[in-house]
């Protein structure tokens, strides 16, 4: 039957002709689509930080914390830091800035935000630290106002004890966020179980101990 080759020939002709027409018209029309590039862009991040440094909302800070896109710098004293701090945070009181910044600087590279915090709505330390950082040329510096209180109030992951040596702390946020953060939020008991059960993971975090309500 000659019908089958005819069908194939016509179908091919229609496909080719429509393609030629389509791409010619697409090239000519002002709202034509780019050929190489997909129309859909990846979904924008839920965290929309202003380009300029400034204050950051707790929700944004928590999201960046979970995805490991931020470094948290604790502006309070070493003593308060040891009593409890945001998990993975680094201690950098403004008065030690000149001495400690060089050690901390490499850890800020590649992060979307550097978040300074202290405690209390009027605490000046975080703003002072942010100013030091900006003066030192650090980009994307944000202040989480009343950070420590807000963080605890939301039962977000915290740690206590002295920070691990800086060489180890750089790994801490990643190790924590995937495996331990959810449990650590629950209760102090849960935190203890985590501590016992996952000794190897705790070891990676140096001297830090997990807790949820470090002030008690």
């Amino acid at each position: 039957m000659r019908l089958v080759p005819r069908i194939f020939g016509q179908a091919l002709g229609l496909v080719a002709l429509s393609a030629v027409l389509a791409f010619a018209v697409n090239a000519a029309r002002p709202d034509g689509l780019p050929l190489a590039q997909a129309a859909a862009k990846p979904a924008p991040s839920a965290v929309q930080l202003s380009q300029a440094s400034g204050e950051i909302a707790l929700k944004d800070a928590a999201l960046l914390f979970l995805s490991g896109r931020a470094v948290f710098l604790d502006a309070r004293s070493q003593f308060e830091f040891q009593l409890g701090h945001i998990q993975g945070a680094l201690s950098l009181p403004p008065r030690n800035f000149a001495a400690d910044f060089q050690d901390i600087k490499p850890l800020l590279a590649g992060k979307e935000a550097v978040i300074a915090y202290c405690d209390g709505p009027d605490c000046p330390l975080s703003h002072s630290l942010a100013k030091h950082l900006i003066d030192a040329g650090v980009k994307n510096v944000y202040v989480l106002v009343n950070g420590w209180s807000l963080w605890q109030a939301e039962k977000l992951p915290v740690a206590k004890g002295a920070a691990a040596p800086i060489s180890q702390t750089s790994q801490a946020p990643q190790a924590v966020q995937t495996t331990q953060a959810p449990q650590a939020v629950q209760t102090t008991q849960a935190a203890q179980t985590v501590k016992k059960g996952k000794a190897s993971a705790s070891k990676a975090k140096g001297q830090e101990k997990l807790c949820t309500d470090c002030t008690n």
Binding site: R6, Q10, L14, A22, G32, A39
Partner: protein, 157 residues
């Protein structure tokens, strides 16, 4: 030809034309909105998650033109055997795509006849409706193809 006469109360050539015309109307209607809004149609194609990114735009550009040309071919009768076969194949692909999307749990914007997003306040159209509608269109296309090809084969003898 003999069987066709037994099945249909109208002359086969008349049935052939009416069916082709109906199918062409569906194709014209389907292509119009996509031709006008290629950007929106590309977003719909993306939503099906079956094509690699690089192919989304080319397909979104080409498909409405293919539909338009198929419609023109069906109405005019030029290359209509190829057109009717291709249309049936196209509708079969669309139908399978709807079923696959439903099975994957992707509540896609059909994008069959309109590129506009569904009214969020309205009750969402169940995927089963689209699958049923596409099945009917596929049925129409297959029937048209059968009639057209039977008439063509008869004419060739």
């Amino acid at each position: 030809m003999h069987r066709l006469h037994q099945l249909m109360p109208v002359p086969a050539r008349a049935a052939d034309f009416v069916l082709r015309f109906a199918l062409a109307l569906v194709l014209f209607y389907a292509s119009a909105d996509k031709l006008l809004h290629p950007q929106d149609f590309a977003a719909i194609v993306t939503g099906y998650h079956v094509l690699p990114e690089a192919l989304v735009n080319p397909v979104a550009i080409w498909l409405p033109w293919l539909e338009l040309l198929l419609g023109l071919s069906l109405v005019s009768g030029y290359w209509s055997e190829g057109a009717v076969t291709l249309t049936a194949g196209l509708f079969a692909v669309f139908w399978v795509l709807m079923i696959v999307s439903a099975a994957r749990g992707i509540d896609v914007n059909c994008g069959c006849f309109s590129t506009k997003p569904a009214d969020p306040s309205a009750e969402p159209t169940p995927m089963l409706f689209y699958i049923g509608r596409d099945a009917m269109l596929l049925g129409l296309a297959l029937f048209t193809a059968w009639v057209r090809l039977t008439v063509a084969a008869e004419g060739a003898k």
